[in-house]
């Protein structure tokens, strides 16, 4: 490992020792952070998987009932029936901090219930009612999944970044500092011995 390019003086030695102490403490802290983030990550990732399976199954069901509605109605009629939404849902967005990572947290406003349908009942079969109602019911879950999935991604990125920092400290910075300190120490000792010998010769 390459040592740093510094003068072998007591001043430098003192400075480097302080830097090493900081580096070691930083390394420990980052490693602890990494451990905790990984623990959180596994929990959220598992939740994500379960939620995604659930939502995908339900969404497939909704699609099926919509397909059933469409199969008995001409496609242009089905399209026009749904073309204007009866209402719009909003989302109350905030952020939540998981180990210093800003993750989205969303509450849905005005949705999640069976609201009025966007069409008149004579326009389309009752199957459409089911699919529209189910879609409304599914929406909060979809939003939850969106939040969780985004959190997983953000957390994964942060874990990766943190890992790089930990490794840089562990395998580059700390060995470098240690080696330089050793080098300066041996140089100083060498100088001291040389001075002693010189004095003995003079006498």
């Amino acid at each position: 490992m390459a040592r740093l390019n510094v003068n072998p003086t007591r001043m430098e030695l003192k400075k480097l020792k302080a830097r090493l102490a900081t580096a070691v403490r930083g390394h420990k802290l980052l490693k602890d952070k990494s451990d905790e983030m990984i623990r959180r990550f596994t929990v959220i990732a598992r939740e994500n998987l379960a939620l995604r399976r659930e939502v995908e199954a339900e969404l497939a069901d909704v699609m099926k009932s919509y397909a059933a509605a469409r199969s008995v109605t001409p496609s242009y009629a089905a399209q026009t029936a749904f073309v204007l939404p009866a209402f719009t849902v909003g989302a109350e967005c905030s952020t939540e901090s998981i180990m210093g990572v800003e993750t989205p947290s969303i509450e849905i406003i005005g949705g999640g219930k069976v609201a009025e349908f966007p069409y008149a009942f004579y326009e389309i079969t009752s199957e459409a009612d089911y699919s529209a109602a189910r879609a409304s019911e599914l929406l909060p879950k979809l939003i939850k999944l969106a939040c969780v999935e985004k959190s997983v991604r953000l957390l994964a990125d942060e874990i990766e970044r943190n890992k790089r920092r930990v490794n840089a400290l562990e395998y580059v910075m700390i060995p470098q500092l240690e080696e330089t300190i050793k080098y300066i120490r041996s140089k100083l000792d060498e100088n001291e011995r040389a001075a002693v010998v010189r004095l003995m010769k003079v006498k």
Binding site: F82, V89, G90
Partner: protein
């Protein structure tokens, strides 16, 4: 902060979501989907994207992974799930932890 919810996709998928009160943006191919996403990314908090587009736009979607919002969620299209969501989750897991803990 109050945000809006959008769905980008093709055909039935977004029609159904529209009935649930989500703003729907039709896109017949990836290129259109990308243009639509670029246009609406600043205005919407949550964007549901057809899974088939998410696969080919994976590189483009990476830019949304930097900040909490907007949240782009790939959802299975009318033809049912192609397993893209799970695959993506597995990749994320491997990237972060080095091993795949979810699908053993």
């Amino acid at each position: 902060m109050t945000g809006k919810i959008a769905a980008v996709g093709n055909g039935d998928c977004i029609t159904v979501l529209r009935s649930a009160g989500v703003d729907a943006f039709p896109a017949e191919d990836e290129k259109k989907a990308r243009d639509v996403l670029r246009k609406i990314a600043a205005d919407y908090a949550v964007i549901f994207l057809d899974e088939s587009y998410a696969v080919s736009l994976a590189g483009f979607l990476k830019r949304f992974d930097e900040q909490p919002y907007p949240v782009v969620l790939p959802i299975p299209a009318a033809g049912g799930s192609a397993g893209y969501g799970e695959k993506f989750l597995r990749e994320t897991c491997e990237r972060a932890l080095g091993v795949d803990i979810l699908f053993k």
